[in-house]
Amino acid sequence: MSTYPLAATRRRRRSVRHTLDMRVSPYAYVAPFFLLFCAFGLFPLIYTAWVSLHEWTLLSDTQEFVGLGNYSTLLADGYFWNATFNTLSIGVLSTAPQLLLAIWLAHLLNRRLRLQTLFRISLLLPNVTSVVAVVVIFSQLFGRDFGLINWMLSWFGVGSIDWAAGTATSHVALSVMIMWRWTGYNALIFLAAMQAVPRELYEAATLDGASNFRQLRSVTLPMIRPTIIFVVIVSTIGAMQIIAEPMLFAQSTGSGGGTFATGGPDRQFQTLALYVYEQAFANSTFDFGYASAASWLMFLAVVIVSGVNFLITRRAKGGIV
């Protein structure tokens, strides 16, 4: 009589603990990620919108609400449109050839090959090189006077090009750096997808007399389309946010004209993200409100461009004919 209720309580307590363990503890295990993302990912992104509606600088303690004032100033700002153009130009120049090349390389690797591991490692080598190292190295290679690239071009009678000085040439130079760093990585992602394509499809295609290129176009591409869409979107989002390359390029070619955040003395390669950085951190005004407005317009651009690319990639069928 005296021990019975005690045992029941203990049993009940144990079962409560068991229920907690089974039902609640999983949430605790995934919680760190969600808490961290909300605090350092989601909150800043949303708060940017709030800041963008204010006259808000690092230096003053009061923030005046200005509504969409920052946005209308921005839309009339030639430097903003210049940065938008540069972002799109560098984005297209670096991403389009890069992904085509990556698919082709993946196709080449998607066979029984000797030295397979060696080739893969060499493809990923540029990707584990830091962006600072990449730009420092390539600034030297693209140097006007003693650069290796101008030296090689001189064999073909091309005069020494001041790569950082021109709009088109600087965009090409930056695109080469971005391509060098990311082509191999994307090739491996494509390769992973290609290896999941059933071998029988290729055997059947070979029996039907389909050429190597035809197999790539009519078997491989349609089969890995989800991966292609995924890579296109991720690359687009990445390309719209390019900042470190132009910043460092201006710095290490000495063409920053005093400040490296302008992307060259004529802003010839200032990207949107770099423009945001200039307004917020490199400008003596530390204009957080204005820079936040630019951030949100950039976010809008990311969504629009990714959406368009998504539609294009989904439409463009490899066509199983």
């Binding site: 363990d21 800043p44 708060y47 600072v132 420092v136 030297q140 290796l148 060098w180 460092l248 710095q251």
Partner: protein, 267 residues
């Protein structure tokens, strides 16, 4: 077939050559770069140039900072990702699938756009100029969680967990005694990937740190700035600050690439 090898060899050459050439320049004297044709084999000036790097920027401090930051981030990411991956792969709870989808979707959020409020947050927390500003926001990430979820749902037999339950293990006990040991191969790859990307991170450290207390990448970028282009100095710093990592990558390349390709195939 021969063309295939030729092409791939050419690509391998283009991948490796800029790194090789950076060592060539780093081991030369500035005057040697003006030669025509440019030097194509390393010279004997490497250590003199490296000591110039240490005289110009606080490079020793930068190396220590980068080691602390990348090291703590890697350990934390391995731990928290395995924990969350275990829950997503093997535990039943309401909203599990939706939460996993949200996790993957967050990888698409262009987080850089929130950099201004993030900086303001760091000012409020008084973390600017300290390693906390780099470590805390990076303690766990969506890629790691997804990566470990993929691995554990494939490689960890459910029977093993059931046997543990029968023996009276709590969920935490299962994690500690069964999941952690089983997750080791994938966690090691994740750790290496995380270490490399933390070591190479540039933009956020540049924004939030001071030049007198930098990470390696920030120190490298201040080496490369200035009105006179001292490429030798910049590339000597690059050689010390990034090439060891590249060497480690080549050593463990097979495992790391396997990891990247497995993470790429979406479940």
């Amino acid at each position: 077939m021969r063309l295939r090898y030729l092409t791939l060899t050419a690509v391998a050459f283009f991948s490796a050559f800029p790194l090789y050439y950076s060592v060539v320049v780093a081991s030369r004297h500035n005057s040697a770069l003006a030669q025509v044709p440019p030097p194509l084999i390393p010279g004997g000036n490497f250590f003199a140039n490296v000591s110039r790097v240490f005289d110009t920027v606080p490079f020793g401090l930068a190396l220590v900072n980068s080691l602390i930051v990348a090291g703590s981030i890697s350990i934390a990411v391995m731990f928290f990702s395995t924990l969350a991956g275990f829950a997503f792969a093997k535990l039943k709870f309401r909203g599990r699938n939706a939460m996993l989808v949200i996790t993957v979707a967050t990888m698409m959020v262009p987080a850089q756009l929130g950099i201004i409020p993030l900086y303001m947050l760091m000012v409020k927390l008084e973390w600017t100029g300290t390693n906390y500003a780099l470590i805390v926001p990076a303690l766990v990430n969506a890629f790691g969680v997804f990566f470990m979820t993929q691995y554990l749902s494939r490689a960890l037999p459910t029977e093993l967990l059931e046997a543990g339950r029968v023996d009276g293990c709590t969920t935490w006990g299962l994690f500690w005694h069964v999941v952690l040991p089983a997750a080791r191969p994938a966690a090691a790859v994740l750790g290496m990937l995380t270490f490399m990307s933390a070591w190479n991170d540039y933009f956020w450290p540049l924004v939030v740190l001071n030049p007198d207390n930098p990470t390696v990448q920030v120190a490298l970028s201040s080496l490369a700035s200035g009105y006179v282009n001292d490429y030798v100095l910049g590339l000597a710093g690059t050689a010390v600050g990034t090439l060891p990592l590249v060497a480690v990558f080549v050593l463990f390349g097979k495992q790391i690439i396997g990891g990247i390709m497995q993470g790429a195939v979406k479940g």
